[in-house]
């Protein structure tokens, strides 16, 4: 009986070791830049982590606080700043994607209300495996931090 129990335990531990870790993604330090008055385009930033051992594909975003949320990358070509939309973003296992001023960002289109420093907005990220991540991001003054 005792040996059966240890065999069972062994199998259990081995199975746990083989199984992929499926820790959910999380957003580090999300924030939205306080817009100048009347502006209909805002940018949101964060570091999006995928601590799981499998690849994750970010496939979209929405928000009750905005008409639409898109992913864009500000790229510099020959000194010219170009903004390019990205429809899907792949996060490798254990990787993080940085959304930073002057680079990749969430473009938050047509806010439902005038937002100012101290307000909070909700952003819902959706992944291709059907999972979602809800982020609460504070609105910060232009300087960020």
């Amino acid at each position: 009986m005792k040996s059966f129990l240890s065999l069972f335990l062994f199998i259990l531990i081995a199975a746990a070791g083989c199984a992929k870790s499926s820790q959910p993604p999380y957003a580090e330090d999300p924030w939205v830049r306080e817009p100048p008055p009347g502006m209909s385009m805002l940018a949101g930033y964060m570091i999006l982590h995928n601590p799981s051992s499998s690849e994750l594909t970010l496939s979209g975003a929405s928000s009750p606080d905005f008409a639409a949320v898109e992913f864009h990358n500000s790229v510099m070509e020959d000194g010219v700043s170009r903004m390019r939309q990205e429809t899907t973003l792949v996060l490798g296992a254990g990787e993080a994607l940085r959304f930073v001023p002057g680079g990749r960002h969430m473009m938050l289109i047509a806010p439902a209300r005038q937002l100012s420093e101290g307000d909070k907005v909700l952003i819902e990220l959706s992944f291709s495996d059907g999972s979602e991540l809800h982020i609460t991001a504070p609105v910060r003054s232009s300087g960020g931090h």
Partner: protein, 210 residues
């Protein structure tokens, strides 16, 4: 005449010539420009007259920028990332340079590349959000293009879905001297420290030139 004496005369004469040449070179040699990330123009480039509009809708001539150094950035208000990031940096630069005598502090100037949407009232609220003294300029597209071309700034309209559009535009900051002439070009990526250091070096160097 002894050989020793001849040698001494030749030696003294050589020394005199070398000293003279050295002094001449030293006096006429231009001062070495400071090491900057910005591109400092050997000769400042005058800007032909363009007629723009300020945030109150009044006519604005580029010569009105005379009297002080100016830091000029071209952008558009529907730009959510690069423009607010750059204007925030410029506002911080201006705050950091407030130790300078007022005449040496920079004017901040924002010129829209999207005059279709960026009418004076829109720009007014926009620039004041970053710095209450920032000058905001718009105008007829042809006039904005004329100014941009003279400053080496490129921009282009990029259509988006549903009839919307974005603008690609140079991210450089242009430094105009107190004669409102193009004197230096500061290329992106921008940092508060980078621009402030270059600004101080350039105005100090140019002051000594005159």
């Amino acid at each position: 005449m002894g050989l020793q004496r001849i040698l001494m005369i030749i030696g003294l004469a050589t020394l005199a010539v070398v000293t003279g040449v050295w002094l001449q070179l030293r006096m006429s040699a231009p001062a070495v420009p400071p090491e900057t990330n910005a591109t400092l123009l050997r000769t400042a480039r005058p800007i032909d007259e363009v007629r723009l509009q300020d945030t109150l809708g009044n006519e604005f001539h580029i010569q009105q920028l005379q009297g002080r150094w100016s830091l000029v950035f071209f952008g558009f208000t529907h730009c959510p990332d690069v423009c607010p990031t750059t204007l925030t940096i410029l506002a911080q630069v201006a705050r950091g340079l407030s130790d300078l005598p007022e005449a040496q502090r920079p004017r901040l100037v924002f010129v829209t590349v999207d005059p279709e949407r960026d009418v004076p009232a829109v720009i007014k609220g926009y620039v004041e959000h970053f710095d209450k003294n920032m000058i905001g300029l718009t105008g007829e597209l042809s006039q904005v293009e004329a100014l941009a071309a003279q400053l080496g700034v490129a921009f282009q309209k990029v259509p988006l879905d549903q009839g919307d559009y974005s603008m690609d535009h140079s991210a450089a900051i242009l430094m105009l001297n107190p004669d409102a002439q193009l004197n230096a070009i500061i290329s992106a990526p921008h940092t508060v420290e980078g621009i402030s250091d270059d600004y101080r070096k350039i105005i100090t160097f140019m002051d000594k030139q005159t």
